[in-house]
């Protein structure tokens, strides 16, 4: 087995970490698939998943220190949530709207991640509202002299929202330690990227706010990790914000309520499936002697077991008590 220190592109990660990246990506894929399956079986009314996005999500989240740094993801970020320490169980409980689901006790839609101890901030559905919040969290860290960073995610459609501009501008002026990540999968539901923006690479907008913007192959987890690492280091050094645009592709419909055949061809999806980040990374690990096919299969089996356990647990967990619907409108005095 080749020592990973000598492996080009390993970004200073050890074998365990390189495999952990794979595990998290595969786990994210499996959770997504399981949620869609449960939805098709009529067990969960709604599923929004991120198959195809795993490298962009896991690669960026991996550069953070969970529980110290802050994450404000959007609804497709299963990979982010799992990388930062949420469990398959947490996500499945939320998918089935169970009382003990840490995200929201069944109040918010699934995939609206939240975990106070892990500093994953509860998200909503209106697009891009979380970007100003991330700036605020980062601003607070800066004012308090802490070297925490905040990372926030949005899709390509989300980059058109006014709140993004206001967040970027504020972060630039006040040099906030925040990382903006755009998971550009080229579709905002059915609206193609060319109808969303007149420029190909949205990262170039960062220059208008005084901080760097980088475009990266979002399906190459190590390239993503490298960009994120640099952004986190910048932020911790007090040098301010970064905008990372990760080019990727959504291999599934927008949500369980979407029929993507209406706006894209099966051929296009098949083309992108060939670039599946999981397949790519598995090949890289094997080619560079980091792990054998059997070691990787073992990871896959473990992930499946974890998701099976989580599903079983969540299915048996009780739903919320109806009377609890009126609680927590206000914080108790």
């Amino acid at each position: 087995m080749v020592s990973v220190k000598e492996v080009p592109g390993a970004m200073g990660l050890g074998k365990e970490q390189l495999l952990d990246l794979y595990y998290k990506m595969f786990l994210a894929r499996t959770v997504g698939q399981r949620e869609r399956m449960l939805n098709r079986m009529g067990k969960g009314p709604f599923a929004v998943t991120g198959e195809g996005h795993e490298a962009a999500q896991v690669g960026t989240a991996y550069a953070l220190t969970p529980g110290k740094d802050w994450a404000l993801p959007y609804y497709r970020d299963i990979g982010v949530a799992l990388t930062l320490g949420m469990t398959a169980r947490d996500l499945l409980l939320a998918h089935l709207s169970r009382a003990e689901a840490i995200e929201s006790g069944g109040r918010n839609m699934p995939s609206h991640f939240s975990h106070p101890q892990l500093r994953i901030v509860s998200g909503s559905a209106p697009v891009a509202t979380q970007l100003p919040h991330a700036v605020g969290v980062a601003l607070a860290a800066k004012l308090r002299g802490l070297d925490e960073v905040a990372i926030t995610y949005v899709g390509d459609g989300g980059t058109s929202v006014g709140d993004v501009h206001e967040a970027f501008n504020f972060a630039g002026v006040h040099k906030c330690p925040v990382i903006f990540v755009c998971e550009n999968n080229q579709y905002a539901i059915s609206v193609k990227w060319s109808e969303q923006s007149a420029v190909q690479d949205v990262a170039l907008r960062a220059a208008g706010y005084g901080f760097p913007g980088v475009t990266v192959d979002g399906n190459d987890v190590l390239a993503v990790y490298s960009a994120a690492r640099e952004a986190v280091d910048r932020a911790r050094r007090g040098e301010g914000a970064t905008f990372i645009e990760a080019k990727t592709y959504r291999l599934v419909p927008h949500t369980s309520d979407d029929d993507d055949r209406r706006y894209r061809t099966a051929e296009e999806v098949a083309e992108w499936s060939k670039k599946d980040p999981l397949v790519r990374y598995k090949a890289w690990l094997e080619e560079h002697g980091v792990a054998s096919a059997r070691e990787i299969e073992a990871l896959q089996t473990r992930a499946l077991e974890e998701v099976d356990e989580a599903t079983h647990y969540a299915e048996s967990a009780p739903p919320p008590d109806p009377a609890s619907a009126v609680l927590h409108v206000y914080a108790d005095e």
Partner: protein, 327 residues
Amino acid sequence: MAERNMIEAVHDAIQEEMRRDPSIIIMGEDVGEGGVFRATEGLQKEFGEDRVMDTPLAEAAIVGVALGASLNGIRPIAEIQFADFIHPAFDQIVSEVARLHYRSNGTWTCPVTIRTPYGAGIHGGPYHSQSIEAFYAHVPGLKVVCVATPYDAKGLLKSAIRDPNPVMVLEHKKAYRLFKQEIPEDDYTIPIGVAEVRREGTDISLITYGMMTHHSLKAAEAIEKEDGTSVEVIDLRSVKPWDKERVLESVKKTGKVLVVYEDNITGGFGAEVSATIAEEGFDYLDAPIMRVASPDVPIAPYAGVLEEYILPNPEKIAEGIRKLAAY
């Protein structure tokens, strides 16, 4: 005790709270040089640029960034320069600030204070005169107070800042320099949700808030001199939550209700007060609940004669009292 006008009282509240709690910051447009109404006069010199922070011109960001900062150890006061300019932040307020605690099942809290000057009568035209309390009193998860006296402004702003919930403090700008009042120099708070009986009476319960409190008191005085009709004037001070118990207590005594508010009549907050009294105080009533409010016209047209025509004033309120008394 010290004699302060309302803007001075607001200033004192902010300054005292910022001295008491180093995690409090105030952010907004022009707050650094003191603010367009001087609410933050001298504060940047005392507390520095980080705690008295000029923001870019971006209301959605002012509220959204304040929310984020409130999750991470800072207690922000977000100043919106005029209530009329809060609308771009409507989404951040309704979808985020008000909903975060509920949607996260009580695990995330947003202790943001949003303070803004509101109200008409200063030749502000359609964009420096609006009343916005109806939009926000409607939103579960948010608290809303309307202040128009120095004493109330200081006490309620302090309560708002200390409240773990998001609170919107609407300061009637016409009352900013209207009069001076003796207020305690030391720390005091007024609980949110408690109305104040400004004037006791036996014949009519006049429920109001904001600048209309002052107009209503003038009207009540005039009417009492005119024919002895005794009007009890209750200033709600909080519209969300509002002091239903105190109001019903008064209605039980008088049997007649006049609700007075500056906002457009349809869907204004006074409509909620009326509906609640009709539902829960029906047995006490000797007359229909009546309202005096602005007509459904954008508040407020700029020309003095037009603005006067629209807004309630002591004469129009007195007319309302007479009509109700005669029923």
